[in-house]
């Protein structure tokens, strides 16, 4: 954003100016110079004509100019207004839906926090959680609306000690915050109460046009009862706790942001799984050295792993076989992602392996980066593809001396590469992956295969969309709200311009 336009596009709260969805179009306001220049040039560059006498002309002009000159100025103003209206319309002004008092505060609450409040056990509650819950009770007592960070930002009107309505838990808090940011008056302050899933986003929080007061409550600080969870509580017998699975997130320092999203999603998935299966995850973070070479033997300390890892996110250069053997138990699940931008992974070929199963399609990545596929000799199968058929996640089962399952994301676990990590489908998918490798799980989640037909074939069913097609997007809705009057103004200005010009 240009520093010249930044005050306009992100105005101070006291200005009360609208923001814009496509602020780049505001540069089109420079087109206002065109009629102004034409007007000035037409005044300056008149052709000179010598006549015998200007006596009659001066009489006529003095009468005519009084009538014409204001018309010219009016025409100039109308033309400028017309261009400005077109530019502003293309920029997509987002007018606040409501006009609250400038000192209004929106209390935005993570539904998971309310759910955790409803399942608090009898243990002593830490002060961090007490403060958050006290704020909730105070808001309820003073009548301050409690808006849930959920689709449509519903206002929670029940008792804060009871469970919230069955709103699916989501890690997609960013989009909800952005939506609230667009809806609220620029002068409105935000107060966000959320589980410490947001702590993983620290430093990665969205840039909003207002000041936001964050209050994150660590998951561990809430003493949950046996049926505590992010999902809405459902009655049922508590399950015996099984052997915890060990999850490792290994990352280089430059990938710490990616690791933050993965860990947040793992914790969220663990909460959801815990209620269902009773098993928990032991989560280990490990910072890999920033060596440009592949991790050598000993990079992962054997002594530090008294248990082998069931699930490993390897966010860095491709792990060596030795590192994997040390870190991952046979049959464990390794998840890697692309070091390269997504756009670099384009040379993909579609092959049909299962002739008897037309719904199964496999994809081979012919340009696998870092030799991660060629050395393992595994065969990639596309699990998820995007709407264009491009592979987002592929899987393989290695046949080398250290067999393990491997999932490879052809993108990075970062919103800059894929919005997926900020959507609720991401922890859900992790929960399914964990279920698939957890022998204690009663219903091992089965990762469904992308069975979308080739282009032109009818689609038998829709599988695992990365983005909910019905997901509400705030910006288009805001644009639609503000566009009709602007287009009507443009039409009126156009009619006025023609009328004045041809009069």
């Amino acid at each position: 954003m240009s520093p010249l336009l930044s005050p306009l596009l992100s105005p101070p709260a006291q200005w009360g100016l609208p923001s814009f969805g496509q602020p780049g179009w505001l540069w089109a306001l420079g087109a206002l110079a065109i009629p102004l220049l034409l007007h000035l040039l037409s005044r300056g560059q008149r052709h000179r004509v010598q006549v015998g006498s200007v006596r009659l002309l001066s009489e006529v002009a003095s009468r005519h100019i009084r009538r014409i000159h204001p018309t010219r100025l009016l025409l100039l103003v109308v033309r400028c207004l017309l261009l400005a209206a077109v530019a502003v319309t293309l920029a997509g002004p987002l007018s606040p839906a409501t006009t609250p008092e400038p000192d209004e505060t929106w209390l935005l609450v993570d539904p998971a926090l309310l759910a955790a409040r409803s399942t608090v056990g009898t243990h002593a509650t830490p002060s961090e959680a007490v403060a958050a819950f006290a704020r909730l009770d105070q808001a309820a007592a003073t009548g301050l609306p409690i808006r849930l960070l959920a689709p449509d930002l519903p206002v929670f009107e029940g008792k804060t000690t009871l469970a919230p309505p069955p709103i699916p838990s989501s890690t997609d808090l960013w989009s909800f915050l952005r939506e609230a940011d667009h809806l609220a008056h620029p002068a409105t302050r935000f107060e966000v109460l959320a589980l410490d899933r947001l702590s993983a986003l620290r430093g990665q929080r969205p840039a909003l046009v207002r000041s936001v007061e964050w209050q994150a409550v660590a998951l561990s600080s809430i003493p949950v009862s046996a049926d505590a969870g992010v999902a809405p509580p459902t009655p049922g017998p508590s399950r015996p706790r099984a052997t915890p699975l060990h999850a490792l997130v290994a990352y280089t320092s430059e990938r710490s942001a990616d690791a933050g999203f993965v860990i947040a999603a793992l914790e969220s998935a663990d909460l959801a799984r815990e209620k269902r299966t009773g098993s928990t995850l032991t989560l280990e973070r490990r910072l890999l050295p920033d060596s440009p070479e592949l991790p050598r033997r000993g990079a992962v300390d054997r002594s530090a792993h008294h248990q082998q890892t069931d699930l490993a996110f390897w966010l860095g250069r491709a792990p060596s076989a030795e590192a994997l053997r040390v870190a991952l138990r046979p049959g464990g699940q390794l998840i890697t992602d692309s070091l390269l931008p997504y756009q670099r992974c384009q040379r993909l070929a579609t092959i049909h392996l299962a002739s008897d199963s037309p719904t199964l399609r496999l994809h081979r990545c012919e340009a696998a980066e870092g030799g991660t596929t060629a050395s393992d000799g595994g065969e990639f199968a596309a699990l998820w593809s995007d709407a264009h058929g491009r592979v987002l996640i592929a899987t393989t089962r290695t046949t080398s001396t250290h067999p393990h399952n491997r999932l490879h994301l052809h993108s990075r676990f970062h919103p800059a590469w894929s919005d997926w990590v900020t959507r609720d489908s991401f922890p859900r998918w992790i929960a399914e992956v964990v279920d698939s490798i957890d022998p204690a799980a009663e219903s091992a989640a089965r990762v469904e295969v992308d069975d979308r037909p080739a282009p032109g074939q009818p689609s038998p069913r829709h599988v695992l969309p990365l983005a909910d097609p019905n997901e509400r997007r705030s910006e288009p809705i805001e644009n639609e709200r503000s566009l009709p009057p602007l287009w009507a103004a443009i039409a009126l200005l156009l009619v006025a311009e023609r009328w004045i010009a041809l009069r």
Partner: protein, 321 residues
């Protein structure tokens, strides 16, 4: 100079712009006069002194050839003797006469048109034996040249003065215009006074801001009135360009007054309707002012062929008599 029903063949109607392109006043004037004379020869020319006046008794000493034998051989057919009519040509050479009419192709300057018309009249008058004199008005003063009838040098001098005349300055005051009165009143012979002018800044009162009742008439109109009162025949030939009459300008223009230097901005297309209405009113007013002075008025457009303009002038003058 008493043609009747003259109509020149179209071949002789040379456009003024073409004459101007000749660049030679003598040659151009000859073209005009020859075209004019060719038209005259097509009609019956009664000849000087041919008009019947009265009968009277024969007296000793009368020429027997003048006896009308059909009237009992006692009467002498007395005809109107041909009388000399001095012609005075007044050419307006003020700044506004430098106006160039670009409506035709090529363009013609208003003073050039006046120059050729004055030269043609000079030639015709001299050919008929009339005394011709010239008065020019420019730079706020009046200059006159006259000569003897039939004198070759008189025509030469007038043509030379016409060819070297330059448009400049404005109209003279009353005192300067008095020169015209002096020249006309030197002998009491009736004169034909032709004024070739665009009449810009000539018919408007000098003090526009004064009340209408106390406003004095323009010096030129006063002079014309006095000349007509002295019994002279005064004819005003009002020269106007086609672009002045029809306002053929287009677009945003800066109009500059050739005489005063005043400037007026305006869009010609937007000014045209109002201008034409105002021009019509103004021309009617000017014509009436001239007629009120006892003078004749004829408007000539610059795209009108010179010999045609000359012929129309003579025909209208004859009809007026």
């Amino acid at each position: 100079m008493t043609p009747r029903g003259v109509n020149a063949p179209a071949a002789h109607l040379l456009p003024p712009a073409t004459l101007a392109a000749l660049g030679d006043l003598r040659l151009a004037t000859r073209h005009v006069v020859e075209g004019f004379v060719a038209g005259l020869h097509q009609s019956r020319r009664p000849g000087a002194g041919g008009d019947f006046l009265q009968y009277r008794f024969y007296q000793p000493g009368d020429d027997p050839r003048r006896l009308d034998w059909r009237a009992f051989a006692r009467y002498v057919r007395e005809t109107e003797a041909e009388r000399e009519v001095p012609v005075r040509i007044v050419v307006d050479a003020t700044g506004s006469m430098a106006h160039e009419d670009r409506s035709g192709s090529p363009a013609i300057v208003k003073l050039d048109y006046a120059r050729y018309l004055a030269a043609a009249i000079t030639w015709l008058a001299d050919r008929q034996g009339d005394r011709v004199s010239l008065a020019t008005i420019h730079d706020g003063r009046v200059e006159t040249w006259s000569g003897r009838p039939g004198g070759r040098r008189t025509v030469e001098r007038i043509l030379h003065q016409l060819s070297t005349l330059q448009a400049a300055g404005g109209w003279p005051d009353d005192e300067q215009l008095g020169v015209l009165l002096e020249g006309a009143g030197r002998n009491r012979q009736r004169q034909l006074i032709l004024v070739l002018s665009d009449l810009h800044h000539a018919t408007t009162p000098s003090d526009d801001s004064a009340p209408a009742a106390s406003r004095r008439a323009a010096p030129l109109l006063q002079t014309l009135s006095r000349l007509a009162a002295q019994g002279h025949e005064v004819v005003v030939l009002h020269l106007l360009g086609r672009d002045e009459l029809e306002f053929r300008y287009q677009g945003e223009l800066l109009f500059e007054d050739l005489e005063t230097g005043h400037r007026v901005r305006g869009n010609a297309d937007q000014l045209r309707p109002l201008y034409l209405v105002r021009l019509g009113e103004d021309l009617a007013q000017v014509r009436q002012q001239v007629l009120d002075c006892g003078a004749s008025y004829q408007r000539i457009a610059l795209d009108q062929p010179l010999d045609e303009a000359l012929r129309h002038f003579l025909v209208s003058r004859q009809e007026a008599r």
